[in-house]
C-alpha cells in the first residue's frame, strides 16, 4: 500500500485568520473565501500546523520508520586535528557536550583518528573528556573523508553512541553527512543551540532556517546517533577545574585505503587577515547601495583601528572577499564594537555577531531585525551618517591639533 504524506485544512475548524499563511516559509498557503488552502508547493515542514490555534491543520502520514532497538549511550565529539593540535572548535564542543552529558547522566568521548595523537588526547582529557578513542596510524596523518568516514562508521556500529557532535568546519561538513548517510540517521547542520528535551531525553537542535527569518528546532527521535554540526565560536571552550582521569581506548579497526589523496595544502597568504581576532568591526550590507560606498566603511574602519566586516549578500555580489564575511557561513566574531552599516539583520548574519560587546546598527528602517538586537540603533541613511561621522572625527582632530 502506498503511503501518502499529506497536510490538509480541516475546513470546519478554520476561521481564515491567516496566521498559518504568514508562518509558511514557502508562501504555500492562501486564504480564499475565509478558509485557508494549502497549495502544491507545500514541503510538509509543518510550521503552519505548529501555530494553528484552532486545530484546523491536519498532518497525516507516518513518521520515520527507523527503529533503534539497541541501547545507545554517551555523547561523542569528533576530534578533528589541525596541524596535529586540537582546534578550538573541538574544545568548544567538548564543553557543551559536558553540559548535555550531565543532564543525561552520561559520559563524553572524543573520537581521535590521526597520527601521533598522544598530545592531542591529553588536551582533550584536560577539557574533561571521559574517554578518548584513538586510532593512531601513519595512513591517517592527513584527513581523508574516505578513510575517516569508514573507520568512524565502524566505531559507531560497535560502540553505539547516543549523540555525535562535529565542528562545522570544512572537514566536519564533509565528513558528518557521509557518516549519517551510512548510518541512516539524522544530521542537523550549523546548530546555534543544543538542549536536552527533559521528557524524551533527546537532543533539541536549534538553527536558523527558511531564508533567515525563523529559528527552527529539530529533533531526531527515532534513529541514533543523533548527529549535529556546530560552527566555531558558537559555544565557549572552558577548561573545568576538576576532572576525572580520562581513559584512552585504542579500538581495533580496519584502515582502508583512501580513494582521495591530498597532494598539496597552502594557506592563502593574502588572507593572513583573521576577522575573528578583531576588536572593532565596521560591517557593510546591501543597504550601502554600491560597491563604491564600501570605501566609506573602509575609511571608518581604518580611523577606528578596526577591520571591515561583510554580510553574505555583499560577498556573494563580489563587493569584498569571503574572509570578511560575518555570520553562519562566514566567521563568528566577538569584538568590543560592531558597527552594522546598511545591514538588515538576517538571522544567519546576526548569529555571527551576537558575542559582540556593543552593537551599533545604522539602518533606514527602525524595525529592521538588527535594530532590535543593537545596543544603539541609528535610524537613517548609513551613507550619510558615516560621511558625517568621518567629517566630525576629522574636524575634531583638527581642532585638537590647533591647540
Amino acid at each position: 500500500m502506498r503511503i501518502v504524506n499529506r497536510i490538509s485544512i480541516v475546513r470546519e475548524k478554520c476561521i481564515g485568520c491567516g496566521v498559518c499563511k504568514n508562518k509558511c516559509p514557502f508562501g504555500s498557503i492562501k486564504i480564499e473565501n475565509k478558509k485557508a488552502e494549502i497549495m502544491d508547493s507545500c514541503s510538509l515542514c509543518r510550521a503552519c500546523a505548529n501555530v494553528c490555534k484552532f486545530g484546523a491543520i491536519l498532518v497525516e502520514g507516518e513518521d520515520a520508520a527507523f527503529n533503534t532497538s539497541d541501547r545507545h549511550e554517551g555523547i561523542w565529539v569528533f576530534a578533528e586535528l589541525k596541524g596535529g593540535t586540537v582546534p578550538r572548535v573541538v574544545l568548544e564542543l567538548v564543553t557543551e557536550a559536558k553540559k548535555l552529558a550531565s543532564t543525561l547522566d552520561t559520559e563524553v568521548s572524543a573520537i581521535l583518528p590521526g597520527y601521533n595523537v598522544g598530545q592531542a588526547a591529553q588536551t582533550l582529557i584536560k577539557f574533561g573528556v571521559d574517554r578518548v578513542y584513538i586510532v593512531d596510524h601513519p595512513a591517517l596523518k592527513n584527513f581523508s573523508n574516505d578513510t575517516y568516514a569508514k573507520i568512524i562508521i565502524d566505531m559507531v556500529r560497535s560502540y553505539k553512541p547516543d549523540i555525535f557532535l562535529f565542528g562545522a568546519t570544512v572537514c566536519g561538513r564533509s565528513l558528518a553527512p557521509r557518516i549519517s548517510s551510512a548510518l541512516n540517521t539524522g544530521l542537523t547542520a550549523d546548530c546555534t543551540q543544543l538542549d536536552i528535551d527533559p521528557q524524551k531525553r533527546i537532543l533539541l537542535q536549534t538553527r536558523p532556517a527558511f531564508g533567515g527569518e525563523l529559528m527552527a528546532t529539530i529533533i531526531c527521535p527515532h534513529s541514533k546517533p543523533q548527529m549535529a554540526t556546530v560552527r566555531p565560536g558558537i559555544f565557549e571552550a572552558v577548561q573545568p577545574l576538576h576532572i576525572n582521569k580520562g581513559k584512552i581506548i585504542r579500538p581495533e579497526v580496519c584502515i582502508p585505503d583512501s580513494r582521495i589523496e591530498i597532494l598539496k595544502c597552502f594557506e592563502d597568504a593574502a588572507e593572513g587577515f583573521d576577522i575573528t581576532k578583531a576588536e572593532i568591526i565596521v560591517a557593510a550590507g546591501r543597504g550601502m547601495g554600491h560597491r563604491e560606498n564600501l570605501l566609506l566603511v573602509e575609511e571608518l574602519a581604518a580611523i577606528l583601528g578596526g577591520v571591515v566586516g561583510a554580510t553574505r549578500a555583499i560577498v556573494d555580489e563580489g563587493w569584498i572577499e569571503r574572509c570578511h564575511q560575518v555570520g553562519q557561513s562566514g566567521s563568528t566574531v566577538s569584538p568590543k564594537l560592531y558597527i552594522a552599516c546598511g545591514i538588515s539583520g538576517a538571522i544567519q548574519h546576526m548569529v555571527g555577531l551576537k558575542s559582540s560587546s556593543v552593537i551599533v546598527a545604522i539602518n533606514k528602517d527602525a524595525d529592521a531585525p538588527i535594530m532590535r538586537i543593537a545596543n544603539y540603533a541609528f535610524v537613517g541613511d548609513a551613507i550619510e551618517i558615516i560621511r558625517a561621522l568621518i567629517n566630525e572625527i576629522k574636524s575634531l582632530k583638527q581642532n585638537q591639533a590647533e591647540f
Partner: protein, 253 residues
Amino acid sequence: MTEAKLDREANTIIREGVVSIINPYDIHAVEEGLRIRERKGGSVTALSMGIPCVVEMLKQVIAMGADNAVLLTDKAFAGADSLATAYTLSKAVEKLKEFDIIVCGKQTTDGDTAQVGPGLAEKLGVPHITNVVEIMELEDDYAECRRAVDKGWEIARVKLPAVITVEKDINTPRFPSIRGIRNMLKPNIAIWNADDINAEHDRIGMKGSPTQVVKTFIPQSKAAAETIMGTPVEQAKKMISIFDELHIKVRER
C-alpha cells in the same frame, strides 16, 4: 562512453511573489558539467527532485546545453530531509546506470546544510570531495581538484567515479545557446516517480526523514537599548560619544 551527470535539489521558493529559482550553486554545477563534456566528451544529464513545475527549470538547463534531464517528482517525496533526498537521488542514479562524475552545488541557499552531496556519494559507494573551485586535471580514472578549505586551498586527487560539490567561484555560467534554446522546444526530460526508481517507500519523503522540525519561532527580540534619530551630524556626534565611552581612540588616516 563517458558520462557526466549533474544533481540539483529542489528549488528555493521565496515567500510573497512566490518566485522559484534554481539554486545558484547548481547553475555553476551545470556549467562545470558542460565544461567537463567539452574537455572529455560524454553526455551531461541534469537530475532534480522537486515539484512538477521544476520541469521549467530543467528546460533552462537543457537550453544551457545539457543533453537530457530527469525530474523526480512524487507526492511521496515531499517532506524529505537531506538523508531521504540523498536516498531518492541515489535510486535515480542507479536507474541511469554508469557515471564518471556527479557534480553538485555545494549547498542550497535556503537549507544550506551542504549534506546531500556527501550523503549521495555514500549511498552510491563512491568517494566525494567538497568545495571544489577548479578541476585542474581530469583523466578517465581520476580528477585532481583545487578546493577551498578553512584558511586557504588544498589540491586533492580523487578516484573516479566520484561526487564533487562546487563553489560559485569555479566558473561563470554561460547563457543559453541558440541550439540549446531550440532543444528546449522538444526537451529530452524524463519524469519519474517513486515507483519508476524502485524507491522503498519508507525511505523517501517524510517517512524516510529521521530529522523533523519540532517547532519554528522568531527569536526573542527586544527593542534596541537606545534608538537615535536626528540629522546625520547629530547622530555622528552621538556616535563619537559612544566611542569615547568605549575608550576607542581614533587614528590618523
